[in-house]
């Protein structure tokens, strides 16, 4: 399961535990407890039961006949948008909440960008009677008002973060600061494959159910593996979860779509793997948008969930080894694709997912008509409808 990982929890040179000393014992404990939990049949059974009876797994694999015709390939959609709470984030939040209970920690900290991870964590905490504190950038609270309301409805405390760019990066910093002060009683549920070890590996493992299910479903449906697997990449958890089962299938091409924001040539984008350089942020070494002095460069994306200057360390490793390819789409292209999938398939994707849809749309002609293209629909777009309507790019 972890062939890519070195003995010290790194992916090649990437990853690590670049954190204040205070957190090292908490990370050691988490590593030990996580490794024990995934080998413990009672933990696995409890998690499986939650995923099947509460989250709604396995998620469907949908044919997309009109979109397929439009693209000129056989596109299949892995429907993480159909999960309870509307995105893949719940897979990880439920699993880490169960782990927190196992560790005797009843207070949960989370960061959130688009609000999907915050909602998923608030949901898990309500279900398991855990205290929930979610850090969210003030700018994102404005962009994702609906999700703020959902979190509060479920009893979570949402704390506005006013430092820096007031987005996911600063929410993550603030969540880490909380954890440095409360690590004896709190568990920090990181929402993506980022952060210090063991988080990138652990979150990937909890999301790897996406790719495991999808691989089996595709084989059952069409009798062969996909030619191309596509997912959007911010921190990179839905992509890593989707890719993981296919990494060993050399013939399957893995495509991660980053947010090009206002364009890669402008400085306002979130394409850390294409325009960044290796650096240390939030506990791990990975590609990072930064200036010549090592100061983190603010990211930009219309999608709050992709608006992050770093990326999970395993993606950096997959990039350098050439096993995965990273491309990008702009805000404008994602907005077009947001409407496209709705019109052709009756599925309104999250703006994050819309980036992956946009890349497939822009790549028409690169596949034979019977090539299978697997797209992870990481979340649904209900949360984005108001923002998209305001942008006036599509009429509603």
């Amino acid at each position: 399961m972890s062939g890519a990982i070195n003995h010290d929890g790194r992916f090649g040179a990437y990853g690590g535990q670049y954190v204040p000393e205070t957190l090292i014992p908490a990370l050691d404990e988490l590593t030990k407890e996580y490794d024990a939990a995934i080998c413990d049949p009672s933990f696995v059974a409890a998690l499986t039961a939650e995923l099947e009876t509460y989250v709604g797994r396995p998620s469907s694999l949908s044919d997309a006949p009109r979109f397929s015709k439009h693209v000129g390939a056989h596109v299949l959609l892995k429907r993480e948008d159909l999960n309870h709470t509307g995105a893949h984030k719940i897979n990880n939040a439920i699993a880490q909440a169960l782990l927190a209970i196992r560790m005797g920690k009843r207070r949960i900290i989370a960061e959130t960008g688009a609000g999907q991870h915050g909602v998923a964590t608030a949901t898990a905490c309500a279900r398991f009677e855990l205290e929930c504190v979610v850090y969210m950038g003030e700018e994102d609270m404005r962009r994702q008002e609906l999700n703020v309301f959902r979190m509060r409805l479920m009893g979570a405390t949402v704390i506005p973060v006013r430092s820096g760019t007031r987005t996911l990066k600063d929410a993550t910093s603030e969540a880490i600061r909380d954890w440095v002060g409360t690590c004896d009683e709190s568990h920090y549920i990181i929402g993506s494959v980022v952060g210090p070890a063991p988080y990138p590996r652990m979150v990937r493992d909890f999301q790897a159910i996406i790719g495991r299910e999808a691989r089996a479903q595709v084989l059952e449906r069409v009798g062969r593996l996909p030619r191309t697997v596509v997912a959007c990449v911010g921190g990179g958890s839905n992509a890593m979860g989707t890719f993981h089962a296919f990494v060993g299938d050399a013939e399957v091409e893995l495509i991660g779509v980053e947010a090009a924001g206002k364009g890669l040539e402008a400085s306002e984008h979130s394409a850390s793997l294409q325009r960044g350089a290796p650096g240390v942020l939030h506990g791990s070494l990975s590609y990072l948008l930064q200036d010549a002095h090592g100061q983190v460069h603010p990211a930009h994306s219309i999608s709050a969930g992709l608006d992050y200057p770093g990326v999970g360390p395993e993606h950096s490793w997959l990039r350098d080894t050439g096993r995965a390819t990273y491309v990008s789409c702009t805000d404008a292209e994602a907005l077009d694709a947001f409407g496209l999938l709705g019109r052709l398939e009756g599925i309104i994707p999250a703006l994050e997912t819309a980036h992956a849809v946009a890349w497939i749309d822009a790549s028409r002609g690169r596949w034979a008509s019977d090539d299978v293209v697997l797209l992870c629909v990481s979340g649904r777009g209900d949360k984005d409808v108001a923002q998209v309507a305001q942008s006036h790019t599509i009429s509603v």
Binding site: Y18, K169, R177
Partner: protein, 255 residues
């Protein structure tokens, strides 16, 4: 230079007053004047903070001082320049997050030494986290000052002490930097645990904000680090900051 300073302090039975300032805060000119004035005001060691855009170990005061300094164009190399120009009579320890150091290139530690920097403290490079980069610093001419937290198990404290140089920086409590009104009740026990496995001088920081607290900590450890409270005073004026340091010194030295 750090070890000589601590030996001299020990010989005179005094405790070290370690003063943290953010390079470039509140503005480059005032920052230079502050670093130049600290030794006379009573500082034994000066920690020169390199501002970073995402300081996860710092509370609001140092976050804001860092942002102000960055907005005014402070960089690691300009901080070294500031240190070289100030040339204080006491050792300078560079206090940085890892990323600005990595971006500054592999010869940055030699440049720092040439600028008169005696030691280096890296907030987010705990012992054992990155042997290659730890060796890079450990084999440089700078003393590699390591941090110990109250959560650190005693056997890990021993390992940290054996990997460190200059002094050991003991974080007094869970949490980020910032002034607190009380010292943590378990501080004497934590210092005792560390002392049992550590031969280096022990300086205690995080939350020490008044002359009385500095005196109380000085009774337990070899030195006291004052950061956020000093940065707050520096935000008012250099005179306020130096007056605060004199008050700390007077209370620590009171018989």
């Amino acid at each position: 230079m750090l070890s000589e300073r601590f030996a001299a302090l020990r010989a005179s039975n005094r405790r070290a007053l370690v003063c943290y300032v953010t390079a470039g805060h509140p503005d480059p000119g005032a920052s230079l004047a502050l670093v130049q004035g600290l030794a006379d005001a009573g500082a034994d060691v000066i920690e020169l903070g390199v501002p970073f855009s995402d300081p996860v170990a710092d509370g609001p005061v140092i976050q804001q001082s860092s942002q102000l300094a960055l907005d005014a164009g402070m960089t690691l190399d300009r901080a070294l320049e500031l240190g070289a120009r100030a040339k204080p009579d006491v050792p300078l320890v560079l206090f940085s997050y890892l990323n600005p150091l990595l971006a500054a290139g592999s010869d940055v530690l030699t440049r720092a030494h040439d600028a008169g920097i005696a030691g280096l403290l890296v907030t987010d490079l705990p012992v054992g986290s990155d042997p290659d980069r730890e060796r890079w610093i450990g084999e440089s001419p700078l003393s590699f000052v390591r941090l110990v937290a109250p959560t650190t198990p005693t056997e890990r404290m021993a390992s940290i002490a054996s990997h460190g140089g200059g002094f050991v920086y003991l974080i007094s409590r869970l949490g980020v930097t910032g002034a607190r009104s009380e010292l943590p009740p378990d501080l004497p026990a934590t210092i005792h645990r560390l002392r049992s496995v550590c031969e280096l001088p022990i300086c205690v920081g995080f939350g020490v904000s008044s002359p009385e607290q500095a005196r109380a900590v000085g009774a337990l450890a070899d030195g006291v680090v004052v950061g956020s409270a000093l940065v707050t005073a520096a935000g008012r004026s250099v005179d306020d900051a130096l007056g605060f340091v004199r008050a700390l010194r007077a209370e620590m030295d009171r018989a």
